[in-house]
Subunit: 492 residues, 2 copies
């Protein structure tokens, strides 16, 4: 190790620790913070952001990066360099004036969006969205430095993957999803659960399930929050979930989803702690973990068979007669407008709509004034019925208001990656079904830990999936899985 | 305002915000953090400490401080300068090598102390304490820059007050306290409570009492922790308390005590938020608030009369017949070894013992090898019976293990200040008793807010008390109060 590399590692270590602190503050804000502290917290967070930005743009990083000979380093060192170089480059490319303007505008925009959604009035949000979009176009151009602007924004969430690559995947999926969706919705709708479910008992069962999926409670904790999330890395990875007395699936599947994210963070090689490799490598890879835990494992027939017994033992009569009816209830496909409430099948169509529209917004092929029409037209094309109100359409997601352009596609990319991993997993663990039927997903989560999670940021996102699966990721496995599952379920 | 002063204020604002973040992290560590995160958190805290240290030693501060003409500023500006100059001076005087050595040694020492206490073996702790003491002597010498070393350490907790001033006060108190203690303990011991107290009901009543004492729950929260504490400033001030099913006083009076600290922080003028004036001015002044809330108000006859009815309504039979017997139970004086369990009367004797011993340790008049003997001799002199085991004597407090030399006297100084404030309060609010008898301490807490709390760090600690009371603080009011209260209670 050269002196420059040692200095860079020390610097990176402290930056990483401060990043953890900012993350803990974010968790506190969503779970524990008294409501009267919001404004004060804004200033505290801004101070942390300024500290982190100053570290990422530290001129000494340029010197060290110039001095170090990458080829003399081992793969871990090379990965550290790759992450550090990228983060430094991105932080220095965006002028401070623009970064603080984006922070200022988006902090206000979220409130305006929420109000517009409550009033079902896109026009009340449109001027603000125009402003956010204009700033993000400017930021994207600064980051792109002559290359594709949308790709530059995407790189914050899915580095090393281009929009064109994603579009190729999505374009192959879309007709198959539209067709499958149409066939499924032509069939009679299965029954859902009925009854009321004690919320403390839901939380207790969810904690049990979280542990079964490998969540280490001694290095995490479960709280309730309005929007479930996972937060933290290494030995302090916390999740939140929520309860609905009429719907135990809300709590259970939110928990399993967040455990997927959290287990990924907890299982990264401890040697990478406080290095750029010590956290999930991208949003898409992260989502692949939450999705395979939630869907390919958690919504599988054998696991739902076990879960049915648990629910019956805990709550008595739940409104479905047997494990098969329960499996149908878990995987019920229904018409709906809202992305976050969508099933495995339709979810991806929601994402593709947003991906195509936001690419057009960034490239100026679409302007905010035409966005609502574009949304409504596309929705009716893919879903077969019109949006009934803006809150169910163009106003439903917070993302654009806070400037998250380039984030949406990572959700569906995560599904595609989960499909690939599921195929490899089933090959690697042939007797998985019997473990799942006993409520034990550990053979699957063990495989995921060794094949993927432990490596953290060692490889680029796509390479992370390829190394785990043994083949380059593509949409085939996910589509085959969805078509087989729902054809069988709905007797198509 | 000059440019230099504006720059200094901006810098101070961000430093203060980062200080808040570090405080929130400390709160999390004691309340929410999963146990497996301890080591990782240590590194995160160290990174925050390094950031704060770098800001406090920022060479630009020296330039701004040299450039600003204090006399051209208003009293607020002058106070900001005084705090900033002191903090900058102290941070720059301690060599980085020494600061990090103290951090390293004390982080390990606490564990060694805890183990030694569990094993009742002072020798197991002595070598570590020697090391801590030696480092703190070195730090004190660096801070003192030729002046008194103990005073230099004291200034971290009680700036502007010397050990000689405190010794004068304590020396006047000690014989009166020893004499009063002896007379009280010659009387029959009043009955305590009996029964079992539902912990949720204790917490509910404590929250009610916290609100009655002016704690703003919309800018705070109450959680349970092993050691009750208050944390934060401005609009996010959290407290913790604890419950004991056999002893509702533990929860109630811990809560009132912490509310005293928290209300002080919440009530500071909002204009001082994110300046050095936006937090309690010293440990002694802080403790004066917690103590007057807890003792002069919370343990007063009228308030305990109201509290007796509440406890009876909530828990039924509690083992004492009437309000008078309850008042005696609340204020019961008993033999004991432990500072944190001591009553209002004996508490100060515990502090004086520690103050005298730690001054001698710092001045090298006493060495660690002789500390246990010195403790035991002094204890028997003041309390009249010997220490039965080290865990009840020299090993009982965590403070010295983590290097807190100079901290102990602020507890008793807080009591002295509370005595002064109580005298002024009774003059200012003559009809206080009837409000307290109705469970409403707000006339007292309102007066304290206006006379003291709102001013935050505007004045030096002693001047803060003097401005509120209208006279220079001295031990007279506390001693008169204690002698009157306990003479009446015990029929002396």
């Amino acid at each position: 190790m050269t002196d420059a590399y040692t200095a860079l590692l020390d610097h990176s270590r402290e930056t990483s620790a401060l990043g953890h602190v900012a993350g803990r503050l974010g968790w506190d804000q969503e779970t524990m913070m008294p409501r009267g502290a919001a404004e004060q917290r804004g200033e505290e967070m801004a101070a942390m952001t300024a500290v982190l930005h100053a570290r990422r743009t530290d001129p000494r990083l340029s010197e060290w990066l110039a001095e170090i000979d990458d080829s003399a380093l081992d793969p871990v060192g090379q990965a550290v360099l790759r992450h550090t170089r990228r983060s430094h480059e991105r932080a220095t490319r965006v002028p401070a004036r623009l970064a603080s303007e984006i922070a200022r505008v988006t902090s206000v925009a979220q409130g305006i969006w929420a109000e517009a959604r409550a009033k079902d009035d896109f026009q009340a949000f449109a001027p603000t969205l125009k402003e956010v979009l204009s700033l993000k176009r400017e930021e994207g151009a600064a980051l792109a430095d002559g290359a594709d602007v949308y790709d530059a924004l995407l790189a914050d969430y899915e580095p090393g993957t281009t929009a064109a690559e994603i579009a190729t995947i999505f374009d192959a999926m879309r007709p198959r999803l539209v067709a499958l969706r149409e066939r499924v919705l032509g069939q009679p709708e299965p029954d859902g659960l009925s009854g009321t479910y004690d919320e403390a008992a839901q939380m207790k069962l969810s904690r049990h399930v979280a542990r079964a999926f490998g969540y280490d409670m001694s290095r995490g904790r479960v709280d309730k929050a309005v929007h479930p999330f996972s937060s933290g890395s290494g030995n302090d990875v916390r999740i939140t979930t929520r309860t609905d007395p009429a719907d135990p699936f809300n709590c259970l599947y939110s928990t399993i989803h967040e455990v997927g994210h959290a287990a990924y963070e907890q299982n990264i090689d401890q040697a990478y702690l406080f290095t750029p490799l010590g956290q999930g490598v991208s949003m898409g890879v992260h989502e692949s973990q939450s999705r395979i835990y939630e869907n390919q494992l958690g919504r599988s027939r054998p696991f739902t068979g076990w879960l049915f017994e648990q629910l019956r033992d805990t709550f008595g009569e739940i409104g479905v007669a047997d494990a098969e009816a329960f499996y149908r209830a878990v995987n019920r496909v229904r018409k709906g407008y809202i992305r976050t409430e969508a099933d495995e099948l339709q979810y991806n169509l929601h994402i593709m709509l947003r991906f195509d529209l936001e690419r057009q917004l960034i490239s100026r092929a679409l302007e905010v004034s035409d966005l609502e029409d574009a949304w409504n037209t596309r929705f009716e094309t893919d879903f077969g019925y019109p949006v009934d109100r803006p809150a169910h359409g163009v106003l439903q997601d917070v993302h654009w208001s806070v400037g998250l352009f380039g984030y949406f596609p990572t959700y569906a990319l995560g599904n595609v990656y989960a499909g690939c991993l599921n195929e490899a997993l089933r090959q690697a663990v042939p007797d998985l079904e019997s473990a799942l039927a006993a409520g034990d997903p550990s053979p699957a989560t063990d495989w995921l830990r060794g094949a993927l999670q432990t490596h953290g940021g060692l490889r680029e996102p796509r390479d992370t999936i390829e190394a785990a699966c043994g083949f380059a990721p593509h949409e085939g496995p996910l589509m085959d899985y969805l078509e087989a599952k729902f054809s069988e379920l709905y007797g198509l």
